[in-house]
């Protein structure tokens, strides 16, 4: 979708400056009050498409896993500028209330309106809600961190959240614990600590970055950001559900808006989606495929299963769903696991039926909640905990350098590439490490960037099938659930990219209208019941 902002040309309504200033006194807001007044349909659509593209760029920036917030901010800002989203580039680094010129006010207005329209478009499905929630929260986090002192004070004053700093006596009494339990920043005596219930700072609790005593968390000034982020997130989550309810009632018969809102999320889909193979993959080929087309995470599990005839619960879940995604039928999947697991002398056929069969049939939606589960994406693999004795998860994240180096050598990766991959994985660029692994083993770059093991597999098949048959009928066998994003050129070697110039073309062909048709047909096919939505929530993101 090629979209260039053109609102200036189209807009005819002039906004009085002082009215705008009254409405938008600050660069950042919690979006508590919906926009009022009239807006032209065209501008309404333009603003929203623009924000969607902005969030899309943010998603890409996040996938590159920058080391620090500042680096991320810089990269994101550059990409915004490159695409011509100058208002947003400005907002990302806006200090709060240091300037109020026309451009600032216009940026704030755009931000406000488009956020609320996005809510309408993204509230309908749980999956979309989750996506908007996580991206908007990241956006908020970036912008909050840019506020200067005055901006922060003003924001605190308008946000309705009030905290009081703890006394000097308390600080002195708990000096050591406060220092060791919070990340160091500046001079202890001059930092204020604010007390609040531990519920309000999940993120800090999660990473053990705050001093908690008897249920009270003592949050240093600079960590207040996570209080606001959590507040923002909770608020948005509630509002999205409210929007969903009211949308069903209020927009029932406005066709123009309905069509637009429904089609919007389809215009740019994420790269973390599943790519399903429509062709049946026979299990006899899995050994070969695991060497040629599996991403390392799945290859490891396959090999572990083959050699030990055992895989612990989460590993089984991840691998079974991956197999489902690459086109292994339910019967074959059962057969595959039965054969492998029963090679373990302690496991009888009967025990297999009792303990393992259920899980496989469950994953295919044949039993229990009857949800057609989807293969897990990279985010989930990276974030899910891995315990002692378990082999699942993302190797670039969960393995130490020694084990990874050894494994890569076993996979016959060139020594120079091994160094590159381990370096990327050490720096936290797991996806890039995986892409490098792909490049090294296929001798070329993937056509599209992926954030899903099944997308990795699809890319690999695309290349290898072409080599095998020299034809492109294989393209048709790929049921790509979405359009994939071309790799952002900054971080990767430039030469192989030339081949892929035709890729964005396919993206263009999907207009909101066709996307909308797609949505409708999907809706008809699988109606979502409440349980289904619940399951999707646990699926990819978060």
């Amino acid at each position: 979708m090629d979209f260039t902002p053109s609102c200036k040309r189209r807009r005819t309504v002039k906004h009085e400056k002082n009215v705008l200033l009254e409405l938008y006194p600050h660069d950042l807001q919690m979006y508590k009050v919906p926009p009022k007044g009239e807006i032209k349909l065209v501008e309404f659509q333009d603003l929203t498409l623009e924000r969607q593209k902005v969030l899309q760029l943010l998603e890409i920036a996040l996938a590159q896993q920058h080391k620090s917030l500042d680096e991320l901010k810089q990269a994101f800002r550059n990409s915004l500028k490159k695409e011509g989203f100058h208002h947003y580039a400005r907002l990302i680094t806006a200090e709060g209330c240091s300037s109020h010129n026309d451009i600032d006010l216009e940026a704030r207005r755009k931000d406000h309106i488009s956020h609320f329209v996005m809510r309408l478009a993204y509230c309908l499905k749980a999956e979309l809600q989750q996506k908007m929630l996580s991206l908007e929260t990241e956006l908020f986090k970036l912008r909050f961190s840019s506020l200067d002192k005055e901006g922060l004070t003003q924001f605190l004053a308008t946000s309705g959240l009030h905290y009081t700093p703890v006394s000097k006596e308390f600080k002195d009494e708990n000096r050591d614990k406060l220092i060791t339990s919070t990340t160091k920043d500046g001079d202890f005596d001059s930092i204020n600590f604010y007390e609040m219930s531990f519920h309000e700072v999940n993120e800090l609790i999660c990473d053990r970055r705050v001093f908690v005593k008897k249920g009270i968390a003592y949050v240093p000034q600079k960590d207040l950001i996570s209080v606001f982020v959590q507040h923002f997130k909770n608020n948005l989550a509630t509002e999205l559900n409210i929007a969903k309810k009211s949308l069903m009632v209020n927009l029932e018969d406005d066709d123009r808006l309905q069509t637009f809102l429904k089609a919007l999320p389809e215009c740019y889909a994420g790269m973390s989606k599943v790519v399903w193979q429509s062709e049946n993959t026979p299990i006899s080929k899995l050994d070969d495929l695991s060497k040629t087309s599996y991403p390392l995470c799945m290859r490891v599990m396959h090999e572990h299963l083959k050699s030990t005839h055992h895989l612990r619960n989460t590993g089984r879940l991840q691998y079974q769903l991956f197999l489902k995604g690459i086109g292994v039928s339910l019967e074959d999947n059962i057969e595959f696991w039965r054969t492998e697991l029963c090679k373990n002398p302690q496991l009888t056929d009967d025990k297999f039926s009792k303990e393992y069969l259920y899980q496989i049939r469950y994953n295919y939606g044949k039993l229990g909640r009857r949800v057609d589960y989807r293969p897990h994406g990279c985010n989930k693999l990276i974030l899910d905990p891995v315990g002692a004795g378990e082999v699942h998860g993302c190797p670039y994240k969960h393995w130490d350098v020694d084990s990874l180096t050894k494994k890569l050598a076993d996979c016959k990766i060139a020594p120079s590439d091994i160094g590159e991959i381990t370096r990327l994985s050490k720096e936290g660029h797991y996806i890039l490490a995986c892409t490098k692994f792909f490049e090294s083993s296929h001798k070329q770059m993937p056509g599209n960037m992926f954030m899903h093991p099944n997308a990795y597999y699809a890319e690999s098949r695309k290349i290898l099938n072409k080599d095998e048959f020299k034809g492109d009928e294989t393209e048709a066998s790929m049921l790509t659930e979405d359009m994939l994003v071309p790799i952002s050129p900054e971080k990767l070697p430039p030469q192989p990219m030339k081949k892929n110039h035709n890729i964005p073309e396919t993206n263009k062909s999907v207009t909101p209208r066709t996307a909308e048709k797609k949505i409708r047909s999907i809706d008809r096919k699988n109606k979502m019941d409440p349980l289904n939505i619940e399951a999707l929530l646990n699926d990819d993101s978060d």
Partner: protein, 424 residues
């Protein structure tokens, strides 16, 4: 325990010994509605599994349990509607749930050497008592929880039920946060170093290290023989990041023959290197603590704690394989708890019979008298039941406190109202 004995004895256990009244006192938290919307699930003979059972009162629970004689009872969340009516409601979601922790010995298989899999002995049980102490302290001191019930899971693990009102109403996100707060040992098969302390040691980690330190040498180095074989030494060295440091450490260890000596030598060597300002070793200033944590810090099944609708085996169940009762553990005397001496269903029934026979003999024909004594008092369940009742009194007192506070406000309000009327 063989299955036919179990199915013979279970009816007796559920009629004469299962503590229905206290069970109800616990799960109702003073409100009938809380109990009636609670999910129970039963596992019957031949792995027949029924979910979403709920009961309006203690009698119907009692009757159903007696009728089905489940091999296992699981407790789920409290829902917005009674789970047995869930089909009639469009919206069905959990609204309250104890914060629960599940610790299973199999997660220690890479560090315990005395047993493997389902087996457990007094040596490896120490992992469990250590886990209990560390987590109990964190839950009480850091999060301020008071009503914590620890339960033996019947074979090789322990469960924890945090029952404070605040804990029962935690949001899923906060549960996740608390669970990761408590989870320190992470990483799978291919991550040799599983605990990393960067720059500073959080106060909760420090407390855990203090608890572990006092028993570490005896428990891990001596009894588990952490450094007693070539293979184990290699595993140990794997924790140390870099090749040349590993070689230095190996040289130190090789000088000594026993595990304890090796460990002491390593600790001293590390201290020296730190003091002399060796840059390599100073990059991991908390190495000793990290090692101790990796070998002894509690390993929890984090998914159980994160969700609201995860089922957890109920206390007072009989473990179908061992026949042992899932009895509460008193955290104050956890060191005295011995999984081997936990009463089994067979010993309990024998104890009741022996008691009755003795009484009959002494008192002649007056059977009435025998019947008046509660059956559990005749058995070794007496003590664990008392521990449970003490836990219940704690909860009830705090509920009472809350109610008094509420009614106190009410009285004040009425009084204030009256005053207003007079002055007007």
């Amino acid at each position: 325990m063989d299955e036919s004995t179990l199915s013979d004895l279970l009816p007796l256990y559920y009629t004469r010994l299962f503590p229905y009244v206290d069970y109800y006192r616990w799960l109702s938290y003073g409100e009938v509605n809380t109990f009636s919307r609670r999910e129970f699930s039963f596992t019957l003979q031949d792995d027949i599994y029924i979910r979403y059972q709920s009961f309006n009162n203690i009698e119907s629970l009692k009757n159903e349990v007696k009728r089905l004689c489940p091999y296992k009872i699981d407790i789920g969340a409290v829902y917005n509607v009674a789970p047995s009516n869930k089909r009639r409601e469009a919206k069905f979601e959990p609204i309250q749930r104890e914060f629960v922790i599940d610790i299973d010995m199999t997660d220690y298989d890479d560090v315990r050497t005395c047993c493997a899999g389902a087996d457990v002995c007094n040596k490896c049980w120490k992992y469990m008592s250590l886990a209990l102490k560390i987590l109990d302290a964190a839950l009480r001191d850091d999060f301020g929880f008071e009503h914590i019930l620890w339960v033996f899971s019947g074979r090789r693990g322990i469960h924890c039920w945090v029952c404070d009102k605040q804990a029962r109403f935690l949001t899923p996100n906060t549960r996740k946060a608390v669970a990761s707060y408590l989870q320190l040992v992470t990483g799978g098969e291919f991550q040799k170093k599983k605990v990393k302390i960067v720059k500073k040691m959080h106060h909760s980690v420090k407390r855990a290290v203090d608890i572990i330190e006092s028993v570490f040498t005896k428990m891990c180095v001596e009894e588990q023989g952490m450094l007693d074989s070539e293979e184990r030494v290699t595993k140990f060295l794997g924790i140390i990041g870099e090749e040349d440091m590993r070689a230095e450490a190996k040289a130190v260890l090789d000088k000594h023959s026993t595990g304890v000596k090796k460990w002491e030598a390593f600790v001293n060597f590390f201290k020296q290197e730190m003091q002399s300002g060796n840059k390599k070793w100073r990059r991991t200033p908390f190495l000793i603590q990290e090692i101790m944590l990796q070998y002894a810090y509690p390993r929890l099944d984090i998914n159980v704690s994160k969700g609201m609708n995860h089922l957890l085996k109920s206390p007072f169940c009989i473990h179908p394989k061992t026949g042992k009762v899932c009895i509460p553990i008193n955290p104050k005397v956890v060191d005295q708890f011995d999984p081997k001496s936990v009463p089994t269903i067979t010993t309990l029934i024998d104890e009741v019979n022996a008691f009755d026979a003795k009484e009959l003999k002494e008192q002649g024909e007056s059977i009435d008298n025998v019947k008046r004594i509660k059956d559990y008092k005749k058995t070794s369940l007496n003590k664990p039941f008392h521990a449970f009742q003490e836990f219940l009194r704690g909860i009830e007192n705090s509920q009472m406190g809350e109610r008094i506070k509420k009614s106190g406000e009410l009285i004040f309000f009425l009084f204030y109202d009256e005053l207003n009327q007079i002055t007007n």
